[in-house]
Structure formats: C-alpha cells, structure tokens
C-alpha cells in the first residue's frame, strides 16, 4: 500500500468502527473475536476473507495495541499458542479454501484450541523419524501410533499431526500432514506429569483413528515440507510481539530484587545487572528482527532469538532462587494439576526456575537451534546424515 500513515489511519478507523458496533464491555468474547475476524482485523497480514487485510506484518502490533487500549478481550494466546502461532500459518500456507474457511475463524475466536501431535517416544529432534502410521481406507485415513509431550492436548479440540503414509520411501519423503479431531474415537489423552509437579503436557495414543482425506494439509508424501512451515512459525511466535523492557521473567526478578534489599550483595548485584543488560540487548535484537522482516517471512535468524531467550530465562530464574535464599528453598505446591497454560508471572520463583528448563527443549532444543544458525545463517557444513536415502522401513531404530 501507499502511504504508511494513511494505512495506519485507515486501520484506526476500522478498529473504531468495530468497537462502536461491538462494545467490548458488553459483548461476549467469542462474538467479539468473530467480528474482529470478519473485519479483517484478526491478523492484518493475512489475506482478505480469512481474518486479514493483506497488509504488512509489522502493522499487527499496532492493531493489537489499539484493541488492548480499548479494553477489548484478549484472545488468550497462551492457551491457544499452538493454534495461533503454528496451526494457523500452516493452514494459511497449505490449506484448501474449504480448510481455511472451516478452521481459521473458530481458531482465532478461541472456540477451538489446537495442539501439536508431532513428537513421539522415538522421534523428537529427529522429527522426520516418526512412526505413527496413517493407512488409506477409501476417503479416510486410519491412524495408529503414540505421540508424546503434547502440550494442552487435554484442552484441545483439534491437532496438527504428522504421520507416516509411505514406509517404503526415505524418512522425509514418506510423511503426510493432517488435521486431527481430538474428540474422534480412538484418541486417548493421558496426563504426563513433569518436573514442576503438574501435567502441562500429555501422551496421546491414537488407535484406529479415522481422519477424512479432506483433512490432509498439503500433498500426500509432502508432510515434511508442511511441518517445516509449522516449525519455522513456532520459532517466530517466540519473538513475534514487541515486549516491554523488563517484562517476563526479568520483571519478576527485578521485583524480587527491589522487594528484598536484605538479600543484596555486590556479587548478586553485578550478576543481576549483567542479566538485565543481556535481556535488554536480546529484546532489542528481537525488535530489530521484527523490523527486518516487516514485509516478509522470518528466516532461520529466529532460531537465534529462541536461543537467547531460553538461556536468559534459565539464568534469571536460577538467579532469583539464589537471591531469595531461605525462601528459595520452598516450593509452592507439588499437587498434580492439568493447567491451561504456562504462567511464569503468576507463579512462584521455584516454579519459574523449573519450568524455564523446558525453554531450551520445547519447540526444538537449543542444540538443534545452534545447528540451524550455524548451517543456515553462517553457512557451515551440515551434519552427517547416514539415513537420508534409505527407505524408512529399513532404518535401524
């Protein structure tokens, strides 16, 4: 579009019109979100008709802020992070018009929560090694297998699923990508307790689950390519929104510092300031990356952001426990619950410390992120791949 200020002015007008027709104070959240979607203000960089206006990605924070300032209901990105951050962009990229129509609006409105059925006991970092099988049966596929570490599966109505459709081909070539109905017969979700005490993720057993072929995303056998889109977006969603200075775990730590002067020592002080500076520099790097990809798609550089946030969160949360001294020895609650979301800010320092350990594992480990940066940003040679050209069924597992 032409003049950036004119575009912003136009967006301001659209937001104001929507707020007039749907007073956030009296409209229920789902109705509000549907209306926002229909007005193209859900994600303005999506095409018209599927929640967007075909504008630049950089305008999204601008629109989000307008809604926030008006007190409009937030669409709970924590609970539907996988839906918003990963399923939606993948459906946009590979979905048929029917799939886009069917799935994007309820996803945006928070009516359907999504989870990600990728990892398996035998396939984590090496995602292309999955062995969950999907066998064609008329217009359906019949799926059998076991998935693991599936966040929010206990809340989800839908899932994105990678399954093997052709074991005779090499591992990357025999995969297909599906949308799975989590309420379908044969889907069994069992809590998997984690080191924090709670069960945020799950095991998911798939036994003769029927998935219509209409729910396949992308071509048969092209599932790896579709999954790559999902994974790229997974990392984008990490640095996607501008965050204020001193937010997140750093905010919690600085509050603790200010609240406990009796625990201050020069050594802790210097460590705190180092971490503060590091977090601020990483925040600015995220801002710059956003500026760089304003129009286009973020690339492998997003892996760098994930790396720094994982490291900083872990160092900060560990520091906070030390700072608390005696209080750092206590833990709030080991009761097994199945939470909706990861809530760093609302929990104790001990929880933050334990949960932050997952930041360097979930969404691709830091080791895998370093491989991506080294190979795709710095151009260093790839890892040896002995299994690349061998039929999946012949691999040693």
């Amino acid at each position: 579009m032409t003049n950036p200020e004119a575009v912003r002015e136009d967006l301001r007008g659209r937001v104001a019109a929507l707020l007039t027709d749907h007073d956030p104070a009296t409209t229920d959240p789902v109705t509000f979100h549907r209306a926002r979607f229909d007005a193209g203000l859900a994600w303005v960089y999506y095409p018209e008709g599927v929640g967007g206006l075909g504008l630049d990605r950089e305008l999204q924070p601008f629109v989000d802020t307008l809604f926030e300032e008006a007190g409009a209901p937030g669409n709970n990105p924590e609970l539907n992070g996988i839906g918003l951050g990963m399923a939606a962009p993948t459906i946009l990229a590979y979905g048929t018009p029917e799939q886009r129509q069917r799935y994007l609006r309820p996803l945006w409105a928070g009516e359907e929560i999504w989870c990600q059925l990728f990892s398996e006991p035998g396939a984590g970092s090496d995602l292309a090694a999955v062995s969950t099988r999907a066998v064609r049966d008329g217009d359906d596929w019949i799926v059998n297998g076991q998935k693991v570490w599936t966040s929010v599966a206990h809340k989800a109505q839908r899932a994105i699923l990678v399954a093997r459709t052709d074991p005779d081909r090499p591992k990357h070539a025999g995969l297909s990508y599906f949308i799975c109905d989590m309420t379908a017969p044969g889907v069994d979700v069992r809590p998997l307790r984690q080191l924090t005490g709670e069960a945020e993720f799950n095991e998911v057993f798939l036994t003769d689950v029927r998935i219509p072929d209409a729910n396949r995303l992308g071509q048969e056998g092209a599932g790896w390519r579709v999954a790559t889109t999902t994974l790229n977006n997974e990392r984008v969603s990490i640095g996607g929104r501008p965050v204020p200075r001193e937010s997140g775990i750093l905010g919690a730590v600085t509050r603790t510092w200010r609240g406990h002067p009796e625990h201050h020592t020069p050594e802790l002080h210097d460590r705190l300031l180092r971490l503060w500076v590091e977090a601020e520099a990483a925040r600015l790097a995220a801002t710059r990356l956003r500026q760089r990809v304003a129009g286009g798609q973020p690339g492998p550089e997003t892996s760098a952001l994930k790396l720094s946030f994982a490291r900083i969160n872990q160092q900060l949360s560990g520091f906070e426990l030390e700072l608390l001294g005696e209080d750092g020895l206590r833990y709030e609650d080991w009761t097994m619950v199945r939470p909706d979301r990861v809530d760093f800010a609302g929990r104790d320092a001990g929880y933050r410390y334990l949960r932050a350990k997952g930041n360097s594992i979930e969404g691709g480990t830091s080791e895998i992120m370093r491989n991506i940066v080294a190979e795709r940003v710095l151009g260093l040679p790839g890892e040896a791949r002995a299994d690349k050209d061998i039929a999946w069924k012949d691999l040693i597992r």
Binding site: P244, P261, H264, H269, L284, R288, A304, L378
Partner: protein, 369 residues
C-alpha cells in the same frame, strides 16, 4: 524505550557504510595496520587524510551551519562500525566524536576547523576515564598558564590541540592547548592501533573553548557520547572476528573434513552470532536514541557500553582460539582485533562501570537506598 527507533540501516546509512568500507578496503591493509606496532604510523596520516578530505567525515557530527556535515549519531555509529571492522588507526572517535561533542557546547572557531579536518583534537584524559570526576585537573597559574601531567591519552599523536578540563572558582572550563606546546611521550600501548601517550603540560597557554558554565555538562556529554558510540566500533570488531573465523573454518581441513563442520565449533560460532546480533541491536539503539535526543538515550548508552565491550572481547578471544596456531601469529591480523577489543573494553569506562551507572538509571540499587 522507543519502539520507533529504527535498528536497521536507512538508504543513506547504507551508502555511507559502503563508501567507508570501500575506502578502507582499498587503503587499510592489515599489514600496514600492523606496522603501527613497529612505530610506523604513516598509515594513520594517509588514512585520516582520506577520511577527512575525501569522505568529509571529520566534521560528521558538527552541524552544517557550523561548517560540518550535519550527520547524526547514527551516521557516526555506521562509520565507527566500519572503522572497527578494519581496526583502522584513525582518530575519528577521539576527535570527531568526543572532542567535537565537547567543543559544540562552546562557540570557538575550533569547531569549524575541526569540521574541515584542518585541525584534529583530543580530550586530555586517560582513555579509560568514564566520568568527569576522573578527568585530571590541570593547575592554572597567575598568568593563566596550565600545568600538569596526564597519562594514557588516546588520539594525542594526531591531535593539533588537546582539550583540557580546568577547574576554576566559576566552574569547569574547557581549554584548548596546542599539542606543539606540550611534551608528548609515546606509551607502549596494548592497542597500538589506538596508541596512547603521556602528556606533560608545563606552563602552557590555553584558551577557553567552552566557558565555565557549560564546561561540565559538555565534558559529561562528550564522555557519554563517546562510550555509547564506542559500542558500534566494538560491534565492528566483533563482526570482523566472527566473519573471518567462519570463513577460515569453512576451508580449514583436519581429520579429513572441514573443521567448520564439527558440531562443537558450529555451536560456539552460533552462540557468538546470537551475541553479536544482540550487541549490534543494542549499539544501534543507543545511536538511534542519541540521534533523536530520546529520553531513553542514557539507559540505551549504558546498556550498549556494558554489553558490546564484553562481546567484542569474547569474539576476539574465540577468533584466536578457533584459528589455532595461526591465530597466535604476529602476521595474521586477528591479534590486532584482540588488542583493540581489550583496550576498547577498558576505554571510556569498563562494562562493570556502565552496569553500575545503569543500576541507578533503572532503579536496581545495591542495598536499601
């Protein structure tokens, strides 16, 4: 915190960067830089001449109505980044950034002379000084002549005049002293690409270039601007180290394969890349905040100064290590960067100093106050 500050190059900045880089590519050969360690400073003279005369950068930060190029702190940051990439032995930081910033607070004709490059200046202070309290006091006698000794001064060899802080009952004045009238003793410096000198001033005449009322703030701004923009030089140093190491490890073979393919090294280089991205964002943000006189400029400057110095040193140390034996040799340029990085880390305040400044700015005090 200003989300609007652009952290990427504008078209004008891209052009400036290209111009500086192409000039340095042609005329700043590492072998010639290395000669500084043997006392041969001819490269400095020729290079500084090109930078002032051909590129007109001596007065980059001086407004056009005072004879300068009217550039912003962002432009200076771009220039410093490129100078850092080449470990270029020129007094841009000491004269065009620090001295010029101090001088702009007064109305002396030195400003115009500095702008054209006919005169080069340096602050009469140890390169490590970060606060006005650390600036050495010169004694003013009854005739107004100045005396004193100042050690480890950067940029003095190239400087035609030295800017001295002189405390008077009315306040701190800034005096310009002709370098020709003082004794300049060369120091064997850790970084000979920015060599230091000990200066003895013995009843030398000075003229006031910033009056008492404006002296202290001028010096303060000069030091702060210098520290904030030194971060960009440090980013340039680190970027050279990473780029050069990656390039080398893509061709160096051991154990029948390219060593850059070993995961242990790939991961270290990836970590360095991550840190460099953060450093360069922090440095650009500091420059951007200075350029627009943003209220966040002091915090931004402290963050950049605290972070970038550490990263440049790490990048240079990693570069030496990952080059193996060749990294330890005199002929190979990586040690020029190690020395520059380490000296820069101490220059204009250590990272620890800037962290303690930051503590006050962001309300994270040590103790109960």
């Amino acid at each position: 915190m200003s989300e609007d500050i652009l952290l990427l190059d504008t078209d004008v900045e891209t052009a400036l960067r290209a111009a500086v880089r192409s000039l340095l590519n042609e005329r700043c050969d590492p072998a010639a830089v290395l000669a500084a360690y043997a006392g041969d400073r001819s490269l400095t003279r020729s290079l500084w001449k090109s930078i002032t005369a051909e590129l007109g950068l001596a007065g980059l930060l001086i407004p056009e109505n005072r004879g300068g190029a009217g550039g912003s702190a962002r432009d200076a940051a771009v220039v410093l980044e490129e100078l850092g990439r080449f470990a270029a032995p020129v007094p841009f930081l000491t004269s065009s950034v620090i001295a010029a910033t101090v001088l702009l607070a007064g109305d002396s004709e030195l400003v115009a002379q500095l702008a054209t490059g006919e005169c080069t200046a340096a602050l009469l202070a140890p390169f490590s000084a970060a606060t006005v309290e650390q600036l050495p006091a010169l004694v003013k006698d009854a005739d107004g002549r100045l005396s004193g000794r100042v050690t480890s001064v950067a940029g003095a060899f190239e400087a035609d005049v030295l800017l001295a802080a002189v405390r008077t009952p009315q306040g701190t004045e800034v005096h310009a002293i002709a370098t020709a009238l003082v004794t300049v003793d060369p120091v064997v410096s850790l970084d000979m690409t920015r060599p230091l000198a000990d200066i003895t001033v013995d009843a030398a005449p000075g003229r006031v270039v910033v009056p008492a009322g404006a002296g202290l703030p001028a010096l303060r701004v000069g030091l702060a601007t210098g520290a904030a923009l030194l971060a960009s030089e440090q980013v340039g140093v680190a970027a050279w180290c990473l780029d050069t190491t990656v390039r080398y490890l893509k061709v160096r073979r051991q154990f029948g394969r390219v060593v850059g393919g070993f995961q242990a090294l790939k991961h270290r280089l990836a970590d360095l890349y991550v840190e460099l991205e953060s450093a360069s964002a922090a440095a650009r943000y500091a420059a951007g905040a200075l350029a627009t006189a943003d209220p966040d400029a002091t915090i931004a400057g402290a963050v950049a100064a605290a972070y970038c110095g550490e990263i440049a040193v790490r990048a240079a140390e990693e570069a030496v290590q990952l080059h193996g034996g060749i990294g330890m040799t005199w002929e190979y340029p990586v040690h020029l960067y190690l020395k520059r990085a380490k000296a820069d880390q101490i220059g204009l305040g250590s990272p620890a100093h800037h962290r303690s400044v930051l503590a006050g700015l962001v309300d994270l005090p040590l103790g109960r106050d």
